[in-house]
Structures are given as structure tokens and as C-alpha cells.
Amino acid sequence: MQWFVIFKKELLENWRNLKWIWVPIVFILFAVMDPITTYYLPKIMDAVGGVPEGSIIDLPMPNAQEAMMMSYGELGMLGVLLTVVIVMSTISGEIKSGVYEMILSKPVKFTNYVSAKFLSIMLIIIISLALAIGTAWYYVMILFGTIDFTRILMSLFFFTLYFALIVSIVIMVNTWIQSPGLVAFISLALIIIFNVLTNIYGHILTWSPALISDYIGEYLASGVLISELWYAALMAFVFSIVCLQFAIVTLRNRVLH
């Protein structure tokens, strides 16, 4: 019951912030940009000119899976950046402005507080991702070729788990520091370190959640769900829970003042 009250408060706040409107739109724009510009690149170069007379430029046209992966790549970069920026002040801002003390002056469980925040943000992210991937899929179908709907659905599921990990990392950092800008910076640093480590030790860390988008690319091309993808998804899930638990413990040990 208490959980639901906080959850509703978060939803209302996100609605007043207009996040429910602009986050999905921005995600859709991110996802759609790359496939369309790639498709029209030859025409754009024709129109802009500056190409010497008689020179032939042969740009390979990507197939449907590659075009879809462009969308995933864009969401994996800019989408993650946007997610970090959205979440950066969710707890730290409340601690700073005093709303936090007001909520915690009532007997609110920290578990309820953190999990309600996490789920309200994930709801926006999931809907935005679904809309963005759906729109990108629509354009890829028109411009490049067909991809099975089930493949899109499965890849969306795994991608959402990756974003759940990002959100919980940022929430964890939120409980350490009060300045939203610093929270964003440290979270991004953590995510980048995580990605770099995965890139260097990719042959050992085959279960790393940072590889999820790579595995999604393979899955879109082959249609076979390899076991590493499941393990990476499981790892993303476990790490999210651990990060949230860390956040709860940190908040519990914080002295109210």
C-alpha cells in the first residue's frame, strides 16, 4: 500500500515534469535518425554536390539487420546518456531540496522508496524503448527489408534489462552524492569503465551485460538465442538488484539532519 502511494507520487511528478511526453519522442528520434540518413546518404550527397565529375562512390547498402543494429547502437549511446541525465537528480535532488526529509519523516521503508522510484523510471524507459524500437522497425521494414516481429520483441526484452542496469547504477550513485551533475558524471564514468573492461576482457567476460547489444546483433542476424545472451541478461538482472540493495543500505545508514 505504502509502496503504491510513493509510486503514484513519482508517476505524478514525472507527468508534471512532462517526462512522459518528451522522453519517448526523443528516444524515437534517436532510433530513427541513423537508418533514414544511411538510406538517403547517396541522395544527400548528390544534392549537396562537391563530388568531382565522373567519380563513382559505391556505398554499400546495409541489410535490414544491420540497419536495425544502427538504431540499437544509437540508443545504446545517446539513449543511455539521456537515461543517466533523467535519473541523475531523482534522489539526490530530493535530498538537496528537503523533499527527502519530508517523505522520510513518515515511517516510509527505504526499500519501498527506492523500488518505487526505480519502477516508475523503468516504466517510462520501457515504454520509450518500445516506441523507439517499434518506429525504427517500421522504417527498416519500409526502407531495407523485413525482420521477424518475434526477434524485435526478444531483442527489446534484453535491451530493457540492460537499461534496468543503467538506471540502478545511477540510483546507487544518487545515494552517495547530492550534486546531480556529479552524479551524472560518476555514473557515466562507471558505465564507461564497465564497457571498456568488457571490451578488453571480452573473451573472458562473456556474461557481461555490456555485451548484450552485441549479442542482440548476432541474434537479429541468425535468429538463434545463444546461451551467453541469457547469462548476460541474468547478470544484468542480478547486478541491478545488487545496485538497488546498495542504494537502500546507503540510505538506511544516512543520518537524517
Partner: protein, 64 residues
């Protein structure tokens, strides 16, 4: 430069989304009494910078 009718039709949803984003940012700017920094600069940013302008305003311009 020849403008293709198909291209316009294809891009129409994106243009509409972009216009929604722009109008949301402008309405929010008018409705808010206090913003981070002068209002007229934000108005210029939102209108002149394509797509990115409204996003920057919605993230950094609003005062909590």
C-alpha cells in the same frame, strides 16, 4: 534540388514529432516563471537549434 514527394511523406511523422517537442518546450518556457538563466536566451535556443535545443532546455533549463 528536387524534393521527392515520397521522402516528405516518409519524414512527415518525424517532422510532427519534432514539432511536438518544440511546442512542449515553448509552452513549458512560457508557463514557468523561473528558469535557469534568462528566458529569451532559452527561447532562442529552443527555436533555433533543431531537436537538440528543446532537449537541452527540458533537461537543464527547468528549475525544480
Amino acid at each position: 534540388m528536387e524534393i521527392n514527394r515520397d521522402l516528405i511523406l516518409l519524414l512527415l511523422p518525424i517532422i510532427i514529432l519534432q514539432l511536438i517537442l518544440l511546442s512542449i518546450a515553448i509552452i513549458d518556457l512560457i508557463r514557468n516563471e523561473q528558469t535557469n538563466g534568462p528566458k529569451w536566451i532559452w527561447a532562442l535556443v529552443i527555436i533555433l537549434i533543431n531537436i537538440v535545443g528543446p532537449i537541452i532546455y527540458l533537461i537543464f533549463g527547468r528549475r525544480p
